[in-house]
């Protein structure tokens, strides 16, 4: 069965980049804000969510991640955080929010694809 991947990213260019990087792995759906992302997690029941940490307007991908992981309906969904914040403390905060993987921007599309494939296979 085809896997579903949800990309939550507020920047148009980066949303496109992530889509192109992951489209070979399954069905890709897109969201550009925290609220839209969370609604789509519930509606689409994706297998994997790639989540930008800084979603603009003060919204945090970490909050979205915690919401996904604390809801029994969605906690099985794999979350891959994508962030321009690459310090050890940022990564730790991401993992503490329940993320399954953390990738720092800028990233290689191939590495992102491999990480996503590994999460989908797990």
């Amino acid at each position: 069965m085809d896997k579903t991947i949800l990309i939550v990213e507020d920047q148009d260019d980066l949303r496109l980049l992530v889509r192109l990087s992951l489209k070979s792995l399954g069905r890709v759906v897109l969201a550009s804000s925290a609220a839209q992302g969370l609604a789509m997690v519930r509606a689409e029941k994706p297998d994997l969510v790639t989540l930008d940490v800084w979603l603009g307007k003060g919204d945090s991908g970490l909050d979205v991640c915690r919401a996904i992981k604390s809801d029994p309906e969605t906690q099985h969904v794999k979350v891959l955080l994508l962030s321009a914040c690459g310090q050890q403390s940022d990564v730790e905060a991401g993992m503490a929010a329940g993320a399954d993987h953390y990738i720092v921007k800028p990233f290689s599309p191939q590495s992102l694809g491999e990480a996503a494939a590994a999460l989908l296979a797990a």
């Binding site: 920047q11 148009d12 260019d13 980066l14 980049l17 914040c85 921007k105 800028p106 990233f107 599309p109």
Partner: protein, 522 residues
């Protein structure tokens, strides 16, 4: 004539005499009283208090002698100080030591009796003596009387020395008291149980007390419970100061630094406590921490802002290198890379600009008299076609004072607000640039107002407009680094000016810059 015989330890004796500061001083009744009494009691014409200096005898008090000093050599007294006890010369004409002395041959002295005068340390500094023109004897009672008179003179000398020492002591006390009175640090003296015995004015002021109002209070009621730890007789005065919280009498608190030195005063265990109000140092540290925190946050944001375009450039170029896309997609991805690279360059330039302006401060400004109409013209020309589809109307007041400004930086500041007005309003809409002059706090200020009819801002957005990298609303499609208004504010403030913002969502934004007029217009 025989050479003057010298006592042993003559040098020490002379030093003691000198230190008494009595030689060549004015006559004093306390000594004259004694010589008068001696002359009367013994029935002699001459009675002296004679002090033996290096080469003279000087009379601190004299009866029957018209001069205040004579040569030491050949004097009777120089012999008296060689011995303990009274020296009596019954008839000088029959004494080899004095027969040829001018005292005898010229002044006619025949009888001499003297008793050595002892300084407080025992040194024989002179004599009390009596002389007569007739030979005579001195019985034991007379000798005892002379000894007692010498003792009285010695007592007067010792008393004078004590008074001087006391005066010196009082002077020292006055200095110490003055020091304690005026040093800005609080000083408290505590008893062994930790009760305040006294405090200096700085301590009283620090704790909000009246003069003397600290006495009797427990140290811990002023210095906090930690103070008890310091009250240990073994506590080293060299230990670093302890930080704590001071408690004023009105209950308010303030940060203090405390040093304690145990001491023993008249056999009693005491503590000297030095209290320093470190409020200012704390505020300074807090400001430094806040600045550091702002810097850290700015750095994090800057890093984030730089990584975002880098992610597009690196990511899309990798895709183009590794995959085959159709020509249209190829073109689209290259376009993104180019756009994001341009954005990256813009960001870096603006960040460097901001850093330069911040680092340069007012010294980095080249202030000159700048005509506002010229400034606005140059700003609009410098937009390079940006805003060509807007209706930009300028209205410069006649006779508007010139401003004192760095023309290039001021143009940069104006460019930032004019380009924001253009970017956040729709094509074809009107932008008004107007001016005014107004005296504020006795200073002539020139206002330049840029008003658009664009999307406007909410109060929340307005509050953050000067934050670095902040971009109002869904600004993704609006070009810019998010540093324009930060740079704008920095430049305006360096010029001693400020900016007012009026904005309403949907109605537009007006930014008014207030700048000091050039001095000849002030």
């Amino acid at each position: 004539m025989l050479a003057t015989p010298l006592p042993t330890e003559e040098a020490h004796r002379l030093q003691v005499l000198l230190d008494l500061n009595i030689l060549d001083t004015a006559p004093e009744d306390r000594f004259d009283r004694i010589t008068r009494m001696a002359a009367r009691l013994f029935g002699v014409p001459v009675a002296l208090v004679s002090l033996i200096d290096a080469d003279r005898q000087w009379f601190k008090s004299r009866v029957g002698v018209p001069f205040s000093e004579t040569e030491r050599a050949s004097s009777f007294c120089t012999h008296t100080i060689l011995q303990d006890g009274v020296m009596v010369v019954e008839d000088a004409t029959c004494d080899d030591r004095f027969a040829s002395s001018p005292y005898v041959t010229e002044a006619g002295a025949r009888f001499y009796a003297g008793y050595p005068l002892a300084a407080p340390d025992g040194s024989r500094i002179g004599t009390v003596c009596i002389l007569d023109r007739n030979p005579r004897t001195l019985d034991d009672e007379g000798r005892a009387l002379l000894r007692d008179l010498a003792g009285m003179v010695a007592g007067e000398i010792a008393a004078g020395e004590l008074r001087r020492a006391h005066a010196r002591r009082s002077e020292n006390d006055a200095w110490l008291y003055g020091l304690l009175e005026h040093i800005p640090d609080g000083v408290l003296m505590l008893d062994r149980a930790g009760n305040v015995i006294c405090g200096n004015p700085a301590a009283e002021h620090m704790f909000g007390s009246d003069t003397g109002g600290l006495a009797g209070r427990m140290a811990c009621s002023l210095l906090g419970d930690d103070a008890a730890m310091l009250l240990d007789p073994e506590h080293s005065a060299d230990a670093p100061p302890q930080e704590g919280g001071g408690l004023r009498l009105d209950g308010s608190t303030f940060p203090i630094e405390v040093k304690v030195a145990p001491m023993c005063l008249v056999g009693q265990q005491r503590y000297a406590v030095i209290v320093r109000d470190v409020t200012r140092q704390h505020e300074q540290a807090q400001r430094s921490r806040a600045t550091e925190e702002r810097r850290r946050k700015h750095f994090t944001t800057a890093t984030h802002e730089l990584r975002t375009p880098m992610a597009s450039i690196l990511g899309f170029s990798e895709l183009l290198l590794k995959r085959d896309f159709d020509a249209a997609t190829n073109r689209e991805l290259l376009d993104i890379i180019h756009r994001q690279a341009a954005r990256l360059v813009d960001l870096i330039n603006q960040m460097l600009d901001l850093a330069r302006i911040e680092a340069g401060g007012t010294e980095g400004l080249h202030i000159a008299t700048v005509d506002v109409a010229d400034l606005v013209d140059q700003t609009l020309t410098g937009l390079n076609g940006l805003g060509q589809n807007h209706r930009i109307r300028t209205e410069i007041e006649d006779g508007l004072p010139a401003i004192a400004a760095d023309a290039a930086k001021m143009q940069q500041a104006l460019t930032n607000i004019v380009s924001n007005a253009i970017k956040y309003s729709s094509e074809g809409s009107q932008i008004d640039i107007s001016t005014a002059a107004l005296r504020r706090n006795a200073k002539l200020m020139v206002a330049i107002r840029v008003a658009d009819r664009g999307i406007g801002m909410t109060p929340e957005q307005q509050a953050r407009i000067f934050d670095a990298f902040y971009r109002a609303g869904d600004a993704q499609n609006v070009q810019g680094s998010g540093l324009g208004m930060t740079i704008f504010k920095e430049i305006i403030e360096l010029h001693g000016g400020h900016a007012d913002i009026e904005s309403r969502p949907g109605a537009g934004t007006a930014v008014t810059v207030w700048l000091p007029a050039a001095p000849d217009h002030g």
